[in-house]
Amino acid sequence: MKNFHRGAIAALFGLALSIIVPISQAKADGFTDGAQKFIGALVIRAESSLLVEGISISERQVRFRKLMMESFDLSGVGKWVLGRYWRRASGIERKLYLKLFEDFIIATYTKRFKAYTNSKLQINATTSRRSSAFVNTQINRKSGKPIRIVWRVNYSDGRYQIIDIVVEGVSWIQTQRSEFVSVIRNRGGKVSGLIDALSKKIADLKSSAS
């Protein structure tokens, strides 16, 4: 009797698995394909809107901001980067911080993003883990090894959004988080300390850019 039970359970389990697996597989495939196409389309869009001649610096920045806002989950990443300090922040601090985070990312990444898109990005395989797709790409150089770039993409609100860029194993959100947490810790554990540091940095970046 015991053996029968075990056999039946195993069979049921196997049946359940055989039904569940193809469905989740198909779903995952649609997700990874979609994520890969999203990155491919983004690269083409960046090339056609940012790498054109004859537009002013301010126009370029406006376009870059638009592209960033549409393709990155900036507020989501901003919250994640703060970690446990997000809960401690007051409503005003949260609002102020998210706005500054956006400005900070756009000010610092205009240059870097241009470097990524300037050379041809080769899209390789895409994998998925939990709710994220990882689009593996590389930039081929004249000499030396190609640079590996992984785009981590989530799907929410009916659209794909980038939540991380991993260049040669270095994650953008992780680096940003460890830096921000360090600033907060060195300023008495206060989010206002980070807000001060961010606004100062943005002002510096703006004055050196003009």
């Binding site: 939990r130 460890s178 830096e179």
Partner: protein, 271 residues
């Protein structure tokens, strides 16, 4: 060199920032940062930055007058000198295919590559890779230990610092110079190697310093992530793929997430 590392291990321990007590989250954060000697480390980092501004950067900027072709040649030459140590570590890690690549690289680049100045092997499909004894220790299961900022040598940890010393003694070139009274060789190699490294990092460091609000913390994070990537040979260890702070986006508690929408529920486009 060994003595200086020991000295800093002692200094670091003596300077242990006290671990926070009571708050579990604060304690977890303290352990993740794993930098108990932070005040000392920051002091040494400042010292290194001063050294960079006064000596290393000016010398490197002079070196950068030379055309890139020549500098790439020097870089390739130095890399070729490293191949014996890379090979030993490939073998110690049981990486047969990589060991084969390293042997082929040495044979091709030393001959066709004109004493290593040309990386002909890469063009023929034998891509370069880094290995050192710090990485070997990591594959053997040795943890990195607390973060240490070494004077002159920069970011490290006990495992990687010991690895550097072991690599020095593993290097056949150093055995040869030791036995033939050519003591100038390792010193010259270290100096030129330092200038080459600074040259290779020129744009990266410049960009990072301009765009960071805590340069020290940014370097600390970058060093660890790059080392983890090297240890996993770029395949992405579990640690690396999952943000190793509070884990994955959806693993964190609700308030800790980037947004509720990007949690596990929305797994893909709805059909």
């Amino acid at each position: 060199m060994r003595i200086s590392i020991l000295l800093f291990a002692v200094l670091t321990l003596a300077n242990c920032a006290s671990a926070p007590s009571g708050d579990a989250e604060a304690l977890a954060e303290h352990q993740k940062i794993n930098d108990p000697g932070e005040p000392t480390n920051r002091f040494i980092f400042k010292f290194n930055q001063g050294l960079d501004a006064v000596i290393i950067k000016p010398v490197t900027s002079f070196y950068r007058i030379f055309p890139e072709v020549l500098r790439t040649g020097v870089h390739n030459f130095l890399n070729n000198l490293k191949t014996p140590v890379v090979l030993i570590n490939d073998i110690l890690q049981g990486e047969a295919e990589r060991a084969g690549d390293t042997v082929m690289r040495f044979l091709i680049n030393t001959t066709v590559g004109v004493a290593g100045f040309r990386d002909q092997a890469a063009d023929w499909g034998f891509e370069p890779h880094e290995e050192d004894f710090g990485q070997t220790l990591a594959t053997w299961g040795v943890g990195e230990g607390p973060y240490i900022m070494l004077p002159l040598f920069g970011p490290s940890n006990p495992r990687d610092a010991i690895g550097k010393v072991v690599d020095f003694f593993l290097d056949p070139i150093n055995w040869w110079t030791e036995n033939s009274d050519n003591d100038w060789v390792p010193l010259t190699r270290t100096i030129i190697g330092g200038i080459d490294t600074r040259d290779q990092l020129w744009d990266v460091l410049d960009d990072l310093e301009k765009s960071s609000i805590d340069f020290y913390a940014a370097i600390r994070s970058l060093y660890r992530q790059r080392r983890n990537d090297d240890i996993s040979n770029g395949t992405g260890s579990k640690d690396n793929e999952t943000p190793n702070f509070s884990g994955d986006f959806e693993l964190a508690d609700p308030d800790d997430q980037p947004s509720n929408k990007s949690s596990g529920k929305d797994h893909g486009p709805k059909k």
